[in-house]
């Protein structure tokens, strides 16, 4: 009896979304956002507005800008950073606030775990979704850059997969931290981390501006590593710094996901 009902449930799961497991989680989120597309759009708008204001507006006041020995427009310097920030935003929303809401209030995962899904499926599925959202933001942002003539090289084709790594890193870490949050107040820490990172991670001015004592702190932040990677690809000057960024982003993202799996086990199965 028990066996047959489990078998039946498996059958139902596999029919509605052939992959089962993590993809069921992604499928759930896609259905959710069909009705909440406005949230989706506003998250994308922020880096675009910054690109127009700081990149284009302030850029008009900055005559020549030298990056890795090449003179580029200031807007072309800011744009890749906003692309990385766009990927970060896309990943952060659904890996922090949304996860907390589902975990504490909607009790979504309690329901999910009553099916053959495991906590690992939940962790992988939610990260996969956050990365997808981040990739959608990035793709559209790249399109904006292309239309504005801010892409300087064919290397930029690799910027999209690069932003997937950015999304992986931020969603992994964001979700891991979210599992430790106790109330909405704790999310002020997310803002406290995101806003300074957005402003100081060599987004609007080069990292060489900093005093060496401060510079190493900046260089350790995930957004800085993301900006370096995406910018080198978009401008077309790729150095070893990009390789360091790739390793850093993958490592941090994977570590985050491992923490999420373990924490969900403790929070939901106990």
């Amino acid at each position: 009896m028990v066996l047959s009902s489990v078998a039946l449930r498996r059958d139902v799961t596999s029919r509605s979304h052939p992959g089962g497991g993590p993809s069921a989680m992604v499928y759930r989120n896609i259905k959710h956002y069909r009705r909440a597309w406005l949230w989706f759009v506003t998250g994308f708008a922020e880096p675009v507005l910054y690109l127009f204001s700081i990149g284009v507006g302030v850029g008009a006041l900055v005559p020549g800008f030298v990056f890795h020995g090449e003179t580029i427009a200031y807007a072309a310097f800011v744009a890749p950073a906003m692309l990385a920030a766009s990927a970060m935003n896309g990943a952060i929303y659904d890996s922090t606030f949304q996860i907390f809401f589902k975990l504490k209030f909607l009790k979504t995962y309690d329901a999910v775990l009553a099916t053959p899904m495991t906590t690992s499926d939940v962790a992988r599925g939610e990260v996969a979704w956050a990365v997808t959202r981040s990739a959608i933001y990035s793709a559209f942002f790249l399109l904006v850059m292309l239309v504005m003539g801010l892409v300087g090289s064919w290397w930029a084709l690799l910027a999209l997969p690069a932003t997937v790594l950015v999304g992986l890193c931020f969603s992994g870490v964001g979700m891991a931290l979210t599992t430790f949050m106790r109330s909405w107040q704790d999310f002020e820490y997310v803002q406290l981390a995101i806003v300074p990172m957005f402003l100081f991670s060599a987004t609007f001015f080069p990292v060489t501006t900093y005093d060496p004592a401060v510079r190493w702190i900046v260089e350790l932040t995930p957004l800085y590593r993301s900006v370096v990677l995406v910018r080198e690809l978009c401008v077309g000057v790729v150095t070893v710094e990009s390789a360091i960024s790739v390793v850093y982003l993958v490592a941090l993202g994977t570590a985050g996901m491992a923490v999420v799996s373990r924490r969900l086990d403790r929070l939901l199965l106990r």
């Binding site: 507005l49 910054y50 127009f52 204001s53 700081i54 507006g57 302030v58 008009a60 006041l61």
Partner: protein, 74 residues
């Protein structure tokens, strides 16, 4: 508003359509007043900015009192 009200770059650099929007934004007038006062260079008529801000405040107060009265009293 924060990004396009002349806080980071002159409003004149915006396309004309956006310049009009910047003029409507109260932040633009605040930024102008604060900047002119700080630099001591009165490049545009301050009374115009002050007048606009005062008018907007008056409308705001009148409107909120009216709405609150409707919701809570009448």
């Amino acid at each position: 508003m924060f990004l396009f009200s002349g806080a980071f770059f002159p409003v004149d650099n915006l396309p004309v359509g956006l310049q009009v929007l910047a003029w409507i934004s109260p932040l633009y007038h605040g930024v102008e007043l604060a900047r002119m006062a700080a630099l001591g260079a009165w490049t545009s008529p301050a009374w115009l900015h002050l007048g606009y801000l005062a008018a907007l405040s008056a409308v705001g107060v009148w409107w909120s009192v009216r709405r609150l009265t409707r919701r809570l009293v009448a």
